[in-house]
């Protein structure tokens, strides 16, 4: 699978490194080159400096050939914008994005984005640990 990841934070870098280790073709895009330090030394994919909400940067990163796009920047709204560009402008078959705000996550899920909400998931994990 050809995967384009926007945002090389802890989650983005970890996802990129593990998909790469599984043999997928991975490109990571970030506006800050310093963030690429988080990639594992064995990472064999491409790390590219660029803004994932800019169509030219996305083209350079090979979005037209991507099977999946994952938006993992710190900003919910940046993720939402980039994910919608990937889905509606470039027709990427699978688009996933992180949205911290649970209500916003629900809304965009209803609008057809595969939106993952860490807030709900992590709160639930803690609750189960405490209660169970």
């Amino acid at each position: 699978m050809n995967v384009l990841i926007m945002g090389c934070g802890r989650v983005g870098a970890r996802l990129a490194s593990s998909l790469d280790a599984q043999g997928h073709k991975v490109t990571v895009l970030d506006v800050d080159a310093y963030s690429f330090r988080r990639l594992l030394p064995t990472f064999g994919g491409t790390a590219l400096l660029g803004d994932g909400t800019d169509d030219e940067a996305l083209r350079k990163a090979g979005i037209e050939k991507a099977d999946a796009f994952v938006a993992l920047t710190q900003g919910d709204n940046r993720n939402v914008l980039a994910a919608q560009i990937a889905k509606h402008l470039f027709q990427v078959p699978r688009v996933l994005c992180r949205i911290y705000d649970p209500l916003r996550r629900d809304l965009y899920e209803a609008l057809g984005l595969e939106a993952i909400g860490p807030t709900t998931i992590i709160a639930e994990t803690f609750r189960k640990r405490l209660a169970g």
Binding site: D55, Q84, H88, L89, L107, L111
Partner: protein
Amino acid sequence: MYIVVVGGGNIGYHLARSLLSEGHEVLVIEKDAQKCERISEDLGSITLRGDGCEVATLETAGAGRADMLVAVTDHDEDNLVSCQVARHRFEVKRTVARVANPKLVPIFRRLGVDCVVSSTMLIMEHIEHDIPTHSLVHLLTIADAQMEIVEVRIPPKSAAVGRKVKDLSLPSGTTLSLLIRRQERPQVPTPETVLQAGDQVVAVTLPELEEALKLALTETGG
């Protein structure tokens, strides 16, 4: 009308002031306490402190009964999300977003924002007339019909010079509706009209055909 303005910076402030003076009910949503205070002092208690992208804030703002939401923060992506939440969650009939990056205008439209305003593009449209290198000038956009009226000046080296209108490779969906030639009365071009260098042609076209129209009238002959 009840109009919700998201973003209480300079644009939001002056927009709220103008809308109030026209007799509308206005609420400004702004995160920053100082900006809220400034607006409240000058314009009355029309502010709500909060994040205008959040469902909860818009709920408090009574977005459900708003006729319009105008998002004018400094962040393009926040303006998009405010408009989309307003439209899809609160069924606000008309949404307006400001964008700093003009490349986002068609994308925001496609994502359902009714009206997208780029100050960069507005300024460009106003100065295009004064920049001779711009051979295509926007005169009018008819938003509802997705049409626009543009003016193209035929450059001396254009391949269109000396050719009849019917022989030009104009994009279909484009009509040349007026020809302005120096020292002559404006005329409606016919298929037989022969174009001359310096002619000004007023055409009705679609935004996506603009570039093809410009090429057909201005491209240098090979």
